[in-house]
């Protein structure tokens, strides 16, 4: 059963200068990392509607992080900002000097979120990791993770205790005086706009939001088996985030665990290169087909797939195998039509 269009409210929050607008511009508006130096501080909330595939709209609330704005979100605009949130992305600047204060603000935001949107998922990005010496990056990140987790737990616990003081909140109707267990769905990532880590975090963020993921995964698997592939990646056309992937048992032995975000990063950079070369706008489509055959080692191709997607196929070598895989991928396009809009797709293979 295919679902209709889904709208998701996504809050992007964190201190001013932490890098929220930068990330958003790179992922969804095809900025280069160095272009973000020109971004000014966001005033109040910058609302944008990002169409992702045919049937998901992200209502992105980029919330300017200057203190006055933050206080306003927590007071006057509290219900407006924190109701119906699907995802909160909270960004910490690892270089920030005032960690205590950052954490205090974070705790306040989490409290407001838990109060108004119990089901919201939380993604915490420990950002600008490029500024930390490579040898201590992992350790610095782990330390920050445990602090943030502890603070989150504390914040959630406080809201739990205070619950009865907020009769207006949605959960009261669940009855029997029992305070429901607020188990926050939270993931943390180390990120930087200067490397592929950005793509890893954002692919996880959108992954759970994409409608009909089960159908996509099943169809990719049947395609993969049919063409004898070792790996298939499906990218959204503008962001080049990995929407879904399939890997054969042989493909699972590939030791490069970071290859998905790496491919996003490479292809997005390639798109920029092409746009510079052709002089066409960055958001426009740039290439339609990219083939690479590494002699008797392996073959691969990246090709325009449906209106909203590109597909990457990594497969065993062999000229005949390659040609038939390309034909089969073209033939499989109709199975994935539903990715392009809220239309009902025909029954799949």
């Amino acid at each position: 059963q295919l679902k209709k269009v889904k709208k998701q409210k996504v809050l992007l929050m964190g201190k001013s200068g932490s890098g929220k607008s930068s990330m958003r511009s790179i992922i969804f508006s095809n900025y280069l990392a160095r272009d973000t130096r020109r971004l000014g501080a966001t005033i109040d909330i910058d609302l944008s509607h990002v169409k992702f595939l045919g049937n998901l709209t992200l209502n992105l609330w980029d919330c300017g992080g200057q203190e006055a704005f933050m206080e306003n979100y927590l007071s006057q605009q509290r219900a407006h900002v924190f109701s119906n949130v699907g995802v909160l992305i909270y960004v910490f600047d690892i270089e920030s000097r005032d960690v205590e204060r950052d954490l205090a603000t974070y705790v306040n935001i989490i409290s407001a979120l838990v109060q108004y949107s119990r089901e919201a998922k939380v993604f915490v990005l420990i950002h600008k990791m490029d500024l930390v010496h490579p040898s201590t990056r992992e350790q610095v990140f782990e330390e920050r993770v445990s602090i943030v987790r502890r603070k989150t737990a504390e914040a959630v616990a406080i809201v739990r205790k205070q619950k009865p003081e907020y009769p207006a909140s949605a959960s009261v109707s669940e009855g029997s005086g029992m305070i429901p267990d607020i188990d926050l769905d939270m993931q943390l990532f180390a990120t930087s706009i200067w490397d592929q880590s950005l793509y890893k975090a954002w692919a996880s963020i959108i992954h759970d939001l994409v409608p009909n993921l089960g159908v996509i995964e099943t169809q990719l698997a049947s395609l993969g088996v049919a063409i004898d592939a070792d790996e298939i990646l499906l990218f959204e056309r503008t962001s080049f985030l990995v929407v879904s992937k399939w890997t054969s048992p042989e493909g699972e032995t590939n030791p490069w665990g970071d290859r998905f975000e790496r491919m996003s990063n490479i292809l997005k950079a390639w798109k920029h290169t092409c746009s510079k070369f052709t002089g066409t706008p960055r958001n426009a489509e740039q290439f339609s087909d990219f083939e690479y055959k590494m002699g008797p080692n392996f073959s691969m191709f990246v090709t325009k797939f449906t209106t909203n997607t590109y597909i990457l196929v990594c497969m065993p070598p062999g000229e005949a195998r390659f040609n038939s895989a390309k034909l089969n991928v073209a033939a499989a396009r109709p199975w994935f039509k539903f990715l392009d809009g809220p239309v009902v797709a025909p029954a799949s293979a």
Partner: protein, 351 residues
């Protein structure tokens, strides 16, 4: 600084010397170009305390020497340099000037270095990299280049030196300019470059290519191109193409991902009944890419372990790939022969 007395035996290997003031970017340049360090990571480079000698085994074997900025090799109270050991087998002296800093002292030191060199080693190419020009406007870049050029030429002609081989390049590690500059520097060290260029020009004519480059894959330095005018945009897309192929190769074609025997057995079994080697059309890496507007496809073909041919084709030629590939095959064979002969004749690049 006491181990520099023993200069290792480096007979026949062209040497690139990187010199300039401290923090001018020498180590960053050699790390980015020769060791693929992401430019942003150069922030963490330690200051160089002694001469770093790098041996690069590529299409031709050469050495890169990174000199600590504070050392003046011609006037050093703590140590006498064996000047002949340093400059005897030289390929080029690259002088790095930080364009974002006050460069007068650097220019003065460069002038005295040139004067010193002119006495004993007048044939040495001096390549001035006016560096860190990212973030500077085009006008400002040219102003700096003009100013530096005049300061050097004036000083030299005051000393009666007219035709010193000094060249200027505007560079940054954050874009292609540093690779372009190195390409120019290296090309001057290639014996019989003209012959290579003629081969590429010929290829462009027979295959109706717009532009062709021969790349050293590891460094993205292009060692030759055809005789059509230089074109930065073409160089950039071809160089990025090499990058993409390297990344694809690392992720899916590296020795770290060794396919199992069962995998091979299945692929060589029915209905194929052929070894994988026999199932492929070309034993070397080859690639093609079509832009969304279907104009000007790009192709890449591996020449040997170190070299790849990258060409921008003309509209509509993607359908003629089989014929094109045959022509490319012929040229690739010629290139391989060229480098075999060059190796045995000059003794460089014992790969």
């Amino acid at each position: 600084v006491s181990d520099q007395a023993s200069v290792p035996q480096t007979k026949g290997k062209p040497r690139l010397l990187l010199m300039g003031q401290r923090r001018s970017g020498k180590s960053s340049i050699s790390s980015v170009v020769f060791h693929k360090l992401p430019p942003s990571e150069t922030l963490f480079l330690e200051s160089t305390a002694r001469i770093q000698k790098d041996s690069l085994n590529s299409f031709m074997e050469f050495q890169v020497w990174d000199f600590p900025g504070q050392i003046d090799i011609f006037d050093n109270p703590n140590f006498t340099f064996d000047i002949d050991a340093i400059f005897g087998e030289i390929g080029a002296l690259i002088w790095v000037i930080d364009a974002q800093d006050d460069y007068l002292e650097s220019v003065a030191r460069l002038n005295s270095t040139i004067l010193n060199l002119q006495r004993g080693y007048p044939h040495i190419n001096i390549e001035v990299f006016i560096h860190k020009v990212d973030g500077l406007s085009d006008d400002y870049k040219l102003d700096i280049q003009r100013d530096v050029t005049i300061r050097i030429q004036d000083e030299l002609s005051d000393q009666g030196i007219e035709n010193a081989p000094v060249n200027f390049h505007l560079t940054s590690i954050y874009d292609h300019s540093i690779f372009e500059a190195f390409s120019k520097v290296i090309q001057k060290l290639i014996p019989r470059l003209g012959q290579l260029e003629a081969m590429l020009t010929n290829l462009c004519r027979t295959c109706r290519f717009e532009k062709a480059y021969l790349f050293d894959v590891n460094t993205k330095i292009y060692i030759a191109t055809d005789n059509t005018p230089e074109d930065m945009a073409s160089y950039e897309i071809c160089s990025d193409y090499v990058d993409v192929i390297i990344d694809f190769t690392e992720v899916y074609g590296s020795p770290e991902w060794k396919r199992s025997d069962e995998w091979r057995a299945r692929l060589e079994g029915p209905p194929w009944l052929q070894t994988l080697e026999n199932q492929v059309a070309c034993e070397f890496a080859e690639s093609g890419m079509v832009l969304a507007d279907a104009q000007r496809p790009i192709m890449l073909r591996e020449v040997d372990r170190f070299l790849a041919l990258v060409a921008i084709m003309k509209e509509g030629s993607y359908d003629k790939m089989p014929q094109i590939n045959m022509n490319v095959d012929v040229v690739v064979k010629g290139l391989i022969e060229f480098f075999e002969i060059t190796k045995t004749k000059t003794g460089i690049a014992a790969v």
